[in-house]
Symmetry: C2
Subunit: 341 residues, 2 copies
């Protein structure tokens, strides 16, 4: 089989890799499509080399078909179309014991900490699998992982129909959060400086605003009749959004921290006191978020097709990454890992 390996400094090689039978509890998949995540782009830029340890096969937003089943695996058959929830939890730490396996104290993220999906076959633990319904194809399936991130973010926010939501940042995850929030029945505003991303939000059927040209806080105050937003999602990772999040939030608003801020920014804690704000960290997803994401696509409540910007064969994986580099228009680039996929 063919495996693409990230070799450092924006480079990939393609190697002929050995195929091995799945061990007990494992399932072997023919990989269908693999999306390129923002984290994959960080790896591509070399900033995660210490963690990834190249040469390494990365990739974790995937769909595939079951081709071989290890001992003791029940509930799956050859030919089943599935997606992988790429988390490898220990099952033994206090956090796993409390049921929060997705934030396991020894969590390994598959495709970063262990080999990933940019290859023709991927062998994984059966406990990571979710089945695709008949009306969700493998291309759509590759979007379930990022859509589950958005479902988890919205789930953390306890969003209710009729509430007003501000999404700070209109990249792929911000737009998916907007789409999920809209599907819940919320009114959504995406704050995003880039024109093509604002146009994408409008196509989704949500409002958008350019925070560089307009006074976002004043805009939200008028939009909400002085009340402020009920829920804010910080998806941008930039400091002006950290300032905006406490300004646009109404009393008792929930702010979900979706972006990963590796620097510790200054935060207006006085507003947390004054308005009794709530800040909720959100990381990856739980099994229920995958189920929700699959249902949103299967039911048509989220039109996921419009998020697919391009499909590139595995042997041109470098082109797929290059096409996403500094490309705010691109939402989701897929890599096709098997001709038959």
């Amino acid at each position: 089989m063919i495996a693409a390996r990230y070799i450092g400094n924006k480079g990939f090689d393609l190697v002929q890799a050995e195929e091995s039978a799945p061990k007990a509890g494992e399932v072997k998949l023919a990989v269908g499509y693999v999306g390129i995540c923002g984290t994959d782009m960080h790896i591509y830029h070399g900033v995660m080399d210490a963690r990834v340890n190249p040469p390494q096969t990365i990739g974790h937003e995937m769909s595939g078909t079951v081709t071989e089943i290890g001992e003791g695996v029940n509930g799956f058959a050859i030919g089943d179309r599935v997606v992988v929830r790429p988390l490898d939890w220990c099952g033994e730490c206090p956090t796993c014991e409390s049921g929060n396996t997705h934030i396991c104290q020894n969590l390994k993220f598959m495709g970063i900490d262990t080999p990933g999906a940019f290859q023709s076959n991927w062998t994984v633990k059966a406990r990571t699998l979710h089945k695709l319904p008949a009306n969700v194809d493998l291309k759509q399936g590759a979007l379930i992982e990022p859509l589950s991130v958005a479902c988890h973010d919205v789930s953390r926010s306890r969003l209710q129909a009729g509430e007003k939501v501000v999404v700070l940042g209109g990249g792929p995850i911000g737009q998916l959060v907007a789409a999920v929030a809209k599907s819940v029945g919320a009114e959504v505003l995406v704050s995003e400086p880039n024109e093509s991303r604002r146009a994408f939000a409008e196509k989704l059927g949500v409002k958008s605003v350019n925070p560089i040209e307009e006074d976002l806080a004043a805009y939200v105050e008028e939009w909400t009749g002085t009340k402020g937003a009920d829920v804010v999602f910080e998806v941008s990772g930039v400091k002006p959004a950290i300032d905006a999040m406490t300004q646009v939030a109404g009393r008792r608003a929930r702010i979900v921290m979706v972006a990963i801020h590796s620097q510790a920014p200054e935060i207006d804690l006085f507003q947390f006191f004054w308005k009794e704000l709530e800040l909720l960290g959100a990381r990856v997803y739980e099994a229920a978020d995958y189920d929700w994401a699959i249902e949103l696509i299967a039911s048509g409540k989220v039109d996921i097709e419009q998020f697919i910007s391009s499909v590139t064969p595995l042997n041109s994986i470098g082109d797929a990454f290059a096409s996403m580099d500094n490309n705010p228009q691109g939402m989701k680039a897929l890599v096709a890992c098997n001709v038959e996929g």
Copy 2:
């Protein structure tokens, strides 16, 4: 009647004030005891002169006895012993309409934004009153306001029996939070550099640690068996505690922001993502917090007597304030506003 007025620069005067009958919806009280709050100390130091507008009668932690009842007031009789929940809300803004009158968008805090309780009589709206049970005396009653702050903080944290709690800061509110958390059945650790305050915590029956001399994060990790604290209360208002709060918090921990940070400190947002932390702002109290505080004292679940450091007559109010200035040993100084109180 006699009213003490803050006149600026750590000064008070005593004036003979006119008594007026309560208007419709109002009740006139003979003031029993009034506690000195941290906010009163800020006023005393002159940092809130713009808001307080001296000469002004301040004070809001009080107990008293009903002496006159205005038109249309039901449920109160002359001689009833009561405490005031010193919030004046508008009842018309979106926040009041949603039921959160305590964070009303036009909230006036009685004793800061309007005249307060350091006088022999105080006329207030009847809607601010809570009755004292027979076994709670007026001295204890004056502690209900700060105890309600602690009840609100604990209520915001959704604390459960058996959970492990770190309180950062062992001043009066930190100790009251520790006492309420203990009454819920939590295990409590107070982090406090001052020796006498640590001794006070130990007397309450909770653990204490000196974060200057010990590695607090390592201490909590061992105490919780790597899990980290379930709930953290930041009551200190200092930057090292802002750093500590994200370190000692376990996965999915709730951090309640009790202290008022007027500067915007740098916060380790990465930990919010990694551990799915929750930050909850808390401001004043709701009616239910007052009911809870009264029940905690009446039932003996919180021994409030030990929080009373001194009782000073109104005509020596300046001495009471001076005794609390830079005095970490002092917990709560009361001012007796009527000889018969």
